[in-house]
Amino acid sequence: MLELHGLHKRFGDVVALDGVSFAAKPGYITGFLGRNGAGKSTTMRSVFGLVNLDDGLIRWNGRDVDGAAMSRFGFMPEQRGLYRKMKIRNQVSYFAQLKGLDRRSADKSANELLTELGLGDRLEDKLEALSHGNQQRVQLATALAHSPDLCLLDEPFNGLDPTAVRVLNSYLRSLADDGRAVLFSSHQLDLVEELCDEVVIIDDGSVRATGSVSEVRRQLGHSVLNLAFSSTPDWGRLAAEGAAATGTRSAQVRLDNPDRLSHLLSLAQEAGSLTTFSYDLPSLSDVFEEVTQ
């Protein structure tokens, strides 16, 4: 398990990390959410010693992170970068060897992973001959070819087409199912909600929410009632109860007290021709918006 305890980092006057603490567990996919500049990349880079922390502790399986531990980590940095004139198979194999695989295994793994990512017929191509999306797949392969115990992926879905997203999605799940820890950052909240077991939301260098997706969704302490009408409802009556329009014939009401549910449903039926309703926790997107305001 990767544990981060009280990470602090300043760049001049800018506080990049202000006591960041959370964990990424084996067998779990952890989504790392935050706006641009919130501290996601700095946190990830600090795991590899690429940032000199002012304070804090990073541990892997209860011990300080050393070179041997790092060889079991896979990293996809925010700033993508590979050798443009190197063949992609050799490139992926090279980075796998740097992580401790022997050459034969690294070559084999590079072949298999690149093929799995849809680049089986481009193995002998140089990186510069590939499209941007395919280069992104190669970047992913360099992070994963040594089958790491911990995957730290900074915006891995950026630039991927839907097919590649589906393949990566499935591959990350298989890594977690195999007992490996996966931590990735993303702006695609629907994807995070669908894929992740745990979520960490960071803002201004501080962790604002952490836990399983359901725990985070409960964290706001309220639920939402979604209402859909067959025709335009009486917006005045709905607004008086705190409902907000989400469409021309749909609305959402925040429910701090579940006891109000029957009352609101009655009112909705009176305000218009109610066709469907749902009662649920706030979406991850709602939580993200609220805790990062």
């Binding site: 067998g27 090279y94 060897q97 401790g100 199912d177 669908e194 077991d197």
Partner: protein, 418 residues
């Protein structure tokens, strides 16, 4: 995933199991070896290296062939007419060659008029008429004077065996015409050729260090400019990266030095050009040893300078002081090689900036006491250790910064990463 779902602990389509295929955990040396291998293969197959080698070989082989052709066409013709001392015409080419006049050929003419015409036309350099008169178009050079001596000696020789003189007269003639002996205190028939090889060594070492240093600079700025360095440093220490790069580029420089020097020696020997001396194998060892010292010294400084720049464009300005340092070392080496006997030059050759270039030339010259060689090496070794520490300190503190150009002092004072 729904609210109630928990992560599966059962593998579905498991990733490749690499546990059994892992070599031992990476170490600084194993990482450096991987960097070395990739860097070496990349550089030695690069069009830049291959083009440079091809250019160097073409220049060396082409140059040798060119000079051979020039040599063949640059022949002085000595025209003879009338009676000449017996055997002199046949012996003349060898006599002039030994005296350093290059190739001389002898041509016999039927008449004085024909000889004069050939001289005026420039086909014949010197004419000898009846063994008693020299004819030239315009008096220049020392060949006519030499020929006058040769013919004079032939005439004296004939006189000494003439039955017209009694033994006493022959004795007088012999004593009067005996050459004054020349005593050479430090005979070295190959000194000029040695000096030429010495200069060639200095130039070769300078160009190789500059070229390979340039390749090292491009390699580092490529990794910074393309953000590869972040991925690399997530897998290894910056010292491993630096070590692998220095070793790979150093080996390429060694190969280049050996190939080009070897090609030069072979080309010169095959085309029978000049008097390139036999080069002792120990000189090659000394040259390679000093190349390693010189490249390690300048290479680590070049690596440090390149690590300050976020891109290749910025690297040029940051690298200027290093390349000026290299140039100063080169200029001083030319001075030393031109004045190998002067005390000042011997002192200058001890400077670590200079000794890598000039010590092989001094060794070849033969006038390099072991203690001087040892002292120069000791000074260079101490300086090298300091340069390695300084360069390594700057490199490890600046290579990760891909967003802006760093100053030397800022990098020196910075915090290391990885």
């Amino acid at each position: 995933m729904t609210d109630t779902e928990t992560p599966s602990t059962q593998p579905s389509s498991s990733p490749i199991d690499m546990e059994s295929n892992r070599a031992s955990a990476p170490t600084m040396m194993s990482d450096a070896a991987l960097v070395f291998r990739r860097e070496f293969i990349t550089r030695i197959t690069s069009s830049m290296f291959l083009a440079t080698m091809a250019f160097g070989l073409v220049m060396i082989i082409g140059g040798a062939v060119f000079f051979r052709v020039i040599d063949e066409t640059d022949v002085d013709i000595v025209g003879l007419v009338g009676d000449q001392p017996t055997g002199l015409a046949d012996a003349l080419p060898e006599l002039t060659d030994e005296a350093g006049f290059g190739r001389v050929e002898v041509e016999t003419f039927e008449s004085r008029e024909a000889l004069d015409e050939a001289i005026i036309a420039g086909d014949v350099r010197v004419g000898v008429v009846d063994g008693s008169e020299l004819v030239v178009k315009t008096s220049d050079g020392t060949l006519p004077g030499f020929l006058a001596l040769v013919w004079k000696e032939a005439r004296v020789g004939a006189l000494l065996t003439s039955p017209d003189l009694d033994p006493g007269q022959q004795q007088v003639v012999a004593e009067a015409t005996t050459d004054i002996p020349l005593t050479e205190l430090e005979p070295d028939p190959e000194s000029e050729a040695k000096a030429a090889v010495g200069f060639a060594l200095v130039i070769m070492l300078f160009l190789t260090i500059q070229l390979v240093g340039g390749m090292l600079m491009l390699s580092i700025t490529e990794e910074k400019g393309n953000n590869i360095v972040e991925l690399l440093l997530s897998s290894m220490s910056s010292k491993s990266l630096l070590l692998g790069k220095l070793a790979a580029n150093g080996l390429i420089g060694l190969i280049q030095t050996v190939v080009l020097i070897g090609a030069a020696i072979i080309a010169v020997n095959v085309t029978d050009l000049g008097d390139i001396p036999t080069i002792p194998s120990s000189l090659l060892l000394v040259a390679l040893l000093w190349f390693v010292v010189g490249f390690a010294f300048f290479g680590v400084l070049i690596a440090a300078g390149a690590s300050l720049a976020p891109s290749q464009e910025d690297a040029q300005s940051v690298m200027t002081p290093i390349f000026i340092l290299l140039l100063i070392g080169y200029m001083a080496s030319i001075f030393v090689t031109s004045n190998l006997d002067s005390g000042a030059a011997r002192v200058v050759s001890m400077i670590p900036l200079v000794s890598p270039f000039v010590m092989p030339a001094r060794f070849l010259d033969g006038d390099l006491p072991l203690w001087e060689h040892g002292l120069a090496f000791a000074i260079a070794a101490v300086t090298l250790v300091a340069a390695l520490q300084l360069g390594s300190r700057i490199y490890t503190r600046s290579v990760i910064h891909t967003d802006r150009k760093l100053g030397w002092l800022e990098a020196f004072r910075g915090e290391p990463v990885r």
